[in-house]
């Protein structure tokens, strides 16, 4: 009857549509060339086609592709430097004045020459608009930036060797002649910058909500580079399509956490599918040092002796994140700063007996258990697994942990205001253990309970540690080692937080069509495609296989 006929007709029509396009699903590749590099990094939303290098949500799309820094600093190779826009630099004696000499012959992608003026303009733009100053350069360190021809003079308020990384490596240089006209001049904060004019190796050729196509910049100052001519950067909103594309070879450069990576990714192409997860910062259990119970040192020591970090790494992180050490120095990345004498002196390797003893001295035992809450961000399933493992390890000792999974904002709020017993977190770190120590331990990054602390959430305050961290900026290398050793001793003696595993950068690479990838044996840059400006170094090293 009529109803059945209508239904049959509709079914036939849909099948027809499916059949017509089934063959084409995912078969058509954009850019035509099989040598286009495709990046798999989940953005979580569709592209806004905005490339403003000072907008934290999109700067990883333009800084390193279209924009460049003055000097590239490699955090993985003990801060090895590669001069980029600045061909050389010089500090004055007390490290308060930094003078850059800008490279000759560099052109912006619109043909105009790049001069010291552009560099000075960039820094002064950050001063004029604090909303753009995402590294807080002017509020924490800079006093003035001036240019004369190709010489740029940066003056600091105090000795600032530690700010070199942020000034030279972390600031994208933008063209004055573009940013002083039109929309950019009217409101640089809201400036979309949809076709960025930069000095870098790539330009934005095409951008739609689902994909960005980058093309090599013919004006690029390094001759013959980049060898990769086209890059696709699709807007993945979820992990599974990105992981599937990496496994099938459709994407070659990934920043994905792939569960069961050997089976899901490596086994699909044993010869070409590789991964490397360099550790960069510590994931740690933060104690609330103003809490009546966790403020007691023996309680914290009980945790430090009682947690088996190797197990947490193996079970919580599937072995992807190596076990951390109580000194708080990420190894092997920053191994040269680790004071091995101190590690031996305060031996925090797993010792259940010592843990029980420490706990007993505070009055707790399996008969009189200690009950504490640990908050963590919901959605980080690997952290949940790690905490479940820690909870299991501590229970027989007499510590009963309750894991509180909180939604992002609620977690953030409680973490910053010190409204917790214990918290599981990892700081951003930087190009050396100094940055992580400063974030975690310096009083300036703390705040009273109830107010938002910048990064010192456990509220540790030790004037000796503050002084050591403050002196670090102006000291020579030998003194710096002594200062960091003293900070490590504070970590070992006071146990303000317990690093459990080392947070890594997820990185997968496919050698089938491209060579020149950063690897564990050749760590010439931090490898993740969202890591700016390191991604520029990766893109410059890559070459399509003939």
């Amino acid at each position: 009857m009529r109803l059945i006929k209508t239904l049959a007709g509709a079914a036939a029509a849909t099948l027809l549509v499916t059949a017509c396009t089934a063959g084409g699903s995912g078969g058509s590749s954009s850019g035509g060339s099989s040598r286009a590099l495709t990046i798999a990094n989940v953005a979580g939303q569709t592209w806004t086609c905005s490339f403003n290098p000072f907008n934290p949500s999109v700067n990883s799309l333009s800084f390193g592709f279209a924009y460049e820094p003055l000097v590239y600093v490699n955090a993985l190779k003990d801060n090895a430097e590669t001069p980029m826009l600045a061909k050389s630099y010089e500090w004055n004696a007390d490290k308060t004045v930094l003078t850059f000499t800008i490279r000759d012959g560099v052109k912006w992608s619109d043909g105009q020459p790049l001069t010291g003026d552009d560099v000075a303009f960039t820094f002064n733009l950050l001063k004029a608009k604090p909303a753009l100053d995402i590294d807080a350069l002017w509020s924490s360190a800079l006093k003035s930036v001036t240019a004369s021809g190709n010489t740029v003079t940066v003056t600091f308020k105090a000795p600032a060797a530690t700010y070199f990384y942020y000034v030279a490596d972390h600031t994208p240089i933008v063209p004055k002649h573009v940013w002083t006209t039109g929309d950019a001049a009217a409101d640089p904060v809201k400036f979309q910058d949809s076709t960025p004019v930069g000095s870098g190796p790539f330009q934005v050729k095409q951008c739609s909500a689902n994909n960005i196509v980058y093309a090599a910049n013919p004006q690029y100052w390094q001759p013959g580079l980049p060898k990769v001519k086209t890059i696709n950067y699709p807007a993945y909103t979820d992990n599974s399509p990105a992981n599937l594309d990496l496994a099938s070879g459709k994407a070659q450069y990934g920043a994905q956490f792939i569960p069961g990576i050997d089976k899901a990714y490596v086994s699909r192409d044993r010869a070409n599918h590789h991964y490397w997860f360099p550790p960069t910062t510590n994931v740690a259990l933060y104690f609330n040092l103003k809490h009546p119970v966790t403020s007691k040192l023996p309680v914290r020591q009980a945790f430090a002796y009682g947690i088996d970090r190797n197990q947490v790494s193996k079970i919580g992180e599937s072995g992807y994140q190596p076990a951390a050490n109580q000194s708080g120095v990420v190894t092997p990345t920053f191994a040269k700063w680790l004071d091995t004498e101190l590690t031996k002196k305060y031996d925090y390797s797993l010792d259940k007996a010592k843990a029980a003893q420490a706990l007993a001295s505070a009055g707790y035992s399996p008969a009189n258990p200690l009950k504490l809450d640990v908050i963590t961000i919901s959605g980080y399933t690997d952290w949940d697994a790690s905490l479940a493992e820690i909870k299991q390890e501590l229970e027989p000792l007499g510590i009963k942990l309750t894991v509180d999974d909180l939604a992002g904002e609620t977690f953030n709020d409680r973490l910053q205001k010190g409204n917790f017993d214990l918290a599981y977190w990892s700081p951003i770190g930087g190009a050396g253990p100094y940055y992580e120590f400063r974030q975690n331990l310096h009083t300036a990054n703390s705040a009273p309970i109830g107010e938002a602390a910048a990064s010192n959430y456990e509220r540790y305050s030790n004037p000796a540690v503050d002084k050591a961290l403050d002196d670090f900026a102006g000291a020579d290398e030998a003194t710096q080692r002594k200062l960091l050793s003293s900070v490590q001793e504070a970590m070992l003696r006071d146990v303000p937080l317990i690093p459990t595993t080392e947070s890594v950068q997820w990185y997968e690479y496919d050698t089938k069509s491209f060579t020149g990838w950063p690897t564990e044996q050749d760590p010439y840059a931090l490898p993740a495609p969202w890591q700016f400006p390191d991604v520029e170094q990766v893109l410059l090293h890559l070459a399509p296989k003939p």
Binding site: S60, N232, T237, D238, S426, N445
Partner: protein
């Protein structure tokens, strides 16, 4: 006339209440957008960026709540919804304009299909109670309607996408490498991506329409005028459609108008399971990122759509059914 004014007045009152609640609720949520962005980019953003972002987002101001409310009312009436924080620096209206067609397209079309299909099946089932159609379709669809939406969605993904090795796409509105435009390949690509979400919504919502229509038919068939029509010698088909169905459909029509209003809410579960870039997905992102401007605009859109739909539904019922017109 009095009926009209009464209804309009009530509509305006409810609208005002909804707008005020819309203003208050995001401000009662803990945290702030800059902090939300820190959480989103954890590990990649310097803690010092928070201050910069707070200034950029304009949440750094310390104006009184009342001033903010008046400004908000003004902005709402003039349609100025500001800049989105999730999609900074794009404006809220541009983002909504981008997402709206996907929601209205997918869910609007499927709602209409579900209504039409459900009503037809319900009519036939009610007319021939115990017949072939009645024995199979209503029970099957009632069962599928009871299933949780996301489960049906994931089962369909499993059967038609994963097990067939990608014959049907499980994700997105169009392929990552498709070039958007009014070309046949793109439209075909969009239809292919819309197939599974549409089937899921259809399967889970059609049951309600079928059941209500069938029950209404059964009630109507007992009426005297149907007996009169039979006695007059009219054909079965004519009686079924022109007399019985028309009267039975009235309650359903009112429900249909309401459900059209809810289309705008975007069926968040649909869009989440299939990563469909519609208004529901955008609302989810906005809430996660504490994007006040976008959240408020979307809540407003949903509220207004539902209220307007209810209003139209009232008028429609009054127009179609003279019995409802008499203002008591």
């Amino acid at each position: 006339m009095r009926f009209l004014l009464q209804r309009l007045g009530f509509f305006l009152l409810t609208l005002w209440a909804a707008i005020t609640v819309n203003f208050l609720i995001p401000r009662l949520m803990p945290g702030d957008p800059a902090g939300a962005m820190m959480a989103r980019f954890h590990g990649r953003l310097n803690p010092s960026a928070v201050q910069a972002m707070a200034i950029a987002f304009g949440v750094d101001t310390h104006t009184s709540l009342w001033t903010q409310y008046v400004e908000y009312l003004h902005n709402t009436v003039t349609g100025n919804f500001g800049t989105s924080l999730t999609y900074f620096p794009l404006s809220v209206s541009s983002q909504i304009a981008q997402a709206a067609p996907w929601t209205l397209g997918l869910i609007g079309v499927v709602t209409v299909l579900a209504f039409v299909g459900g009503t037809l099946i319900g009519t036939v089932s009610g007319w021939r109670r115990g017949g072939v159609v009645d024995s199979f379709l209503p029970p099957v669809f009632v069962v599928t309607s009871a299933l949780p939406y996301f489960w049906v969605g994931m089962m369909l993904i499993l059967f038609f996408s994963v097990w067939t090795n990608g014959a049907l796409p499980n994700d997105g509105a169009y392929s990552l490498d498709a070039v958007p435009g009014l070309s046949f390949p793109f439209i075909a690509d969009v239809l292919q991506h819309a197939l599974l979400p549409a089937l899921t919504i259809l399967a889970t919502s059609i049951g309600a329409w079928i059941l209500t229509m069938r029950n209404n038919m059964v009630t109507v068939l007992a009426e005297d005028y149907v007996r009169m029509a039979r006695a007059k010698g009219l054909s079965n088909r004519r009686i079924m459609y022109q007399y019985a169905a028309r009267n039975a459909m009235l309650p359903n029509l009112a429900g249909f108008a309401m459900s059209l209003g809810f289309v705008v809410a975007g069926a968040i579960l649909v869009e989440y399971v299939f990563n469909y870039p519609g208004l529901g997905y955008m609302l989810l992102n906005a809430v996660n990122n504490l994007d006040y401007p976008l959240m408020q605009a979307l809540f407003l859109l949903i509220t207004v759509a539902v209220l307007v739909a209810v209003l139209i539904c009232d008028f429609l019922t009054a127009w179609l059914d003279p019995r409802a017109r008499s203002a008591s």
